[in-house]
């Protein structure tokens, strides 16, 4: 079963993509839900990274997410704000990201909403940019010369939202 972190943001859309792929999924809001033994993966959706980060810490989820990430067979995928949370460095974020993916990510790097755009593979909404890719991080997809989908072992992140344009291929590849 794949958990979708449901603190805030676009978690329903990820649940819908997983359902289309006939993968079992559940919403995750608490430490107990996160530690369920049947969970084999976690999606951190898009939304507001400030909100999600605040409640990851207040609800005591940080250590649980990090513990889960240590197991190579447990897959994690963050989209947009989710990628920001997984990153090692986010210069313009108040608070410490989870640091599970060795990349530097700049929030709202394309600009405000007027600069949001949609491609056939995903939607870039007030999207971040990956400005540094660590040694052990593989760039899986680029768009206009910038990395937009990266992975480091079991941890994946994208700056775009495949789930908002009905693209199930990224989830199929990851899970």
């Amino acid at each position: 079963m794949i958990g979708v972190l449901a603190l805030q943001g676009g978690f329903r859309e990820h649940m819908e993509v997983l359902a289309m792929l006939e993968l079992e999924a559940c919403e995750v809001r608490t430490r107990e839900e996160l530690m369920r033994p049947e969970l084999i993966g976690l999606i951190i959706p898009g939304g507001e990274s400030t909100v999600m980060l605040k409640f990851i810490d207040e609800f005591g989820l940080r250590s649980a997410i990090c513990a889960r990430a240590q197991h190579p067979e447990f897959t994690m995928y963050g989209t947009c704000a989710g990628l920001i949370l997984l990153a090692k460095e986010v210069p313009n974020l108040k608070g410490e990201p989870l640091g599970l993916l060795d990349v530097t990510v700049e929030r709202n790097a394309y600009g405000r909403q007027l600069d949001s755009f949609i491609t056939d593979f995903g939607s870039f909404i007030r999207a971040p940019k990956i400005t540094r890719v660590g040694e052990n991080v593989e760039v899986i997809m680029e768009h206009e010369g910038l990395p937009v989908l990266v992975r480091s072992g079991n941890i994946w992140g994208s700056t775009f939202h495949p789930e908002l344009v009905g693209n199930v291929e990224i989830h199929r590849k990851i899970f």
């Binding site: 603190l7 676009g10 507001e48 709202n108 909403q113 007027l114 949609i118 909404i125 007030r126």
Partner: protein
């Protein structure tokens, strides 16, 4: 027909709380408390109601001062039908425009033609027809038109339940009945069919107006809203940072009564409330 990027931004706001703020300091408090966006406006609705006069778009310098401190989306309000206020807000690069009944309407005939804008719009609606007219005009997000500034949630609940009932009724209609319903609501039948098939609006739908406590916010979520706007409820309470934080938590944990009980404790005085029948101005009646 839709502003897809705008619809997508609204999807990212789901499960969150959008808070009214009147200056940069309040914006910082809201963001820190866990707001997913802020609404920049000159006066909160309860002050607009008390002071009267014409309520207009906020001054650009005030919006800029909020944009300078907020890292979350910044929304701002225009008067119903005031295309030029909307153009100004688009030029200021706000993230979302609320064409709002809380401000004094500017056009007695029409709403802003939102399709001609790149910036997305959220609009209020008391029922399905109103929501679908706004969506036809290009709105990327809908919210209820609960009586703003009253701290009284009954009207927001009325709008949520009315819309749900009307959507439910579409499901049992044949093609002819659907065509009639579309005609009555003054919208395209294809849009009505889309709503019937989805069983909900094709855009994100928030509660707004009269939400004053964590329990109010949880009630709106329980009734099926995607998220909540809180206006006067935060900064007219005795401890805004605490109330803001509590309302955000209530939206996340609306299904968990035990958590709601903890969240609701020690919040101090809620904003003063008003009985709807005593109001001189019903803001929800503004809009066509």
């Amino acid at each position: 027909m839709f502003n897809e990027a705008g619809k997508n931004l609204a999807q990212m706001l789901k499960g969150g709380v959008i808070m009214d703020v009147t200056n940069a300091e309040q914006a910082a408090i809201a963001e820190k408390a866990g707001a997913c966006a802020v609404m920049a406006l000159e006066r909160v609705p309860s002050d607009i109601r008390a002071q009267g006069g014409v309520a207009r778009m906020s001054a650009p310098e005030m919006i800029k001062s909020i944009q300078a401190v907020a890292t979350i989306p910044v929304m701002a309000k225009v008067r119903i039908g005031h295309t030029m206020e909307a153009k100004i807000l688009e030029a200021l690069n706000v993230d979302f425009i609320d064409e709002s009944e809380v401000l004094t309407p500017a056009d007695p005939f029409s709403h802003v033609d939102k399709k001609s804008f790149t910036i997305p719009f959220v609009c209020g609606a008391t029922n399905l027809g109103e929501a679908l007219r706004r969506i036809s005009e290009g709105a990327s997000m809908i919210r209820t038109k609960g009586e703003a500034g009253t701290g009284n949630v009954i009207e927001a609940v009325r709008h949520i339940k009315t819309m749900k009932k009307e959507i439910e009724e579409l499901k049992s209609m044949n093609d002819e009945q659907l065509a009639n319903a579309a005609k009555e609501m003054r919208v395209d039948v294809e849009l009505v069919k889309q709503v019937r098939d989805l069983g909900r609006l094709p855009v994100v739908n928030f509660a707004a107006g009269g939400v004053a406590t964590p329990a109010d916010a949880a009630l709106c979520m329980e009734l099926g809203c995607d998220g909540v706007f809180v206006g006067s409820g935060i900064f007219k309470s005795s401890d805004p940072a605490k109330v803001a934080h509590a309302v955000v938590q209530a939206v996340i944990h609306y299904k968990d009564a035990k958590k709601l009980a903890e969240i609701s404790e020690g919040l101090g005085e809620a904003m003063p409330g008003l009985e709807i029948s005593t109001l001189d101005v019903r803001m929800q009646q503004r809009g066509w």
